[in-house]
């Protein structure tokens, strides 16, 4: 890992087109500004961890498929029957 030291309002440029600026520093919190082309996707790491966790929970090994199907059908209705708020 490359480690750089930056002060408030200083920046880092990555690959000529991504600019990361240190906007504010608190005792244990920093605010980071990111300027990047639209094609670059930027997310907090927790989002990825959460998605991985959901995916793992979603992965089904051996289940009683007819039981699960009837359970799903019973519980989940299309939006016409869903709560109407």
């Amino acid at each position: 890992m490359l480690i750089l030291t930056r002060k408030k309002d200083e920046s880092i440029i990555i690959d000529d087109k991504i600019k990361i600026t240190l906007l504010d520093i608190d005792s244990n919190r920093v605010q980071i500004g990111i300027e990047a082309p639209r094609s670059i996707s930027i997310h907090r790491e927790e989002v990825y961890q959460e998605i991985q966790e959901e995916n793992r929970m979603a992965a089904i090994g051996k289940i009683n498929i007819s039981e699960v199907r009837s359970d799903l059908k019973k519980k989940v209705k299309k939006k016409t029957n869903k709560k109407n708020d």
Binding site: E50, I51, K78, K79
Partner: protein, 151 residues
């Protein structure tokens, strides 16, 4: 090809029915080939079955059936990875979690599965929009009431 699955038994999968994940399902890197099983008279649920691992499958829904204003925008990079053109047909699914302990059923709207129907290239993408990773399709009664009042 024949795949021995734990939930559907031995199934014959035609080559053209194989979906290839250019960007893997997060946490399942290395499992790139899947097929969708939807001929089980289900009108809501789709089963995403791994072609390479018979014991791996997911349940999916079409989120557009459950969320009125579900809009997704694909980055140029994803469009490129899935070789999409302007008139490509795109199919959207979201992965369903059946919580065994509570019986709750939820789906992940933050990271849908996108498939280019023209070439069967797929990806799980992470949307920038503020959609929940846990969108409940079914919750135990007390919590649903809470949601209703919050409306």
């Amino acid at each position: 090809m024949i795949v021995d699955t734990s939930n559907f038994g031995k199934i014959e999968i035609e080559e053209k029915k194989i979906i290839y994940f250019e960007k893997a399902i997060l946490g399942f890197e290395g499992y790139n080939r899947f097929t969708i099983i939807n001929n089980l008279e289900d009108d809501i649920f789709y089963w995403l079955q791994s072609v390479d691992e018979g014991e791996l499958s997911f349940i999916m829904i079409n989120p557009l059936v459950f969320v009125d204003d579900y809009k997704i925008s694909l980055s140029a990079r994803i469009q490129q990875e899935l070789a999409m053109s302007e008139d490509s047909d795109m199919v959207i699914y979201s992965i369903v979690v059946v919580d065994q302990s509570t019986g709750d059923i939820r789906t992940n709207l933050k990271a849908p599965i996108i498939i280019n129907a023209d070439n069967n290239k797929a990806a799980q993408i992470v949307l920038e929009q503020n959609y929940p990773t846990k969108f409940y399709l079914f919750k135990s009664d007390s919590v649903i009431d809470e949601e209703k009042t919050r409306g």
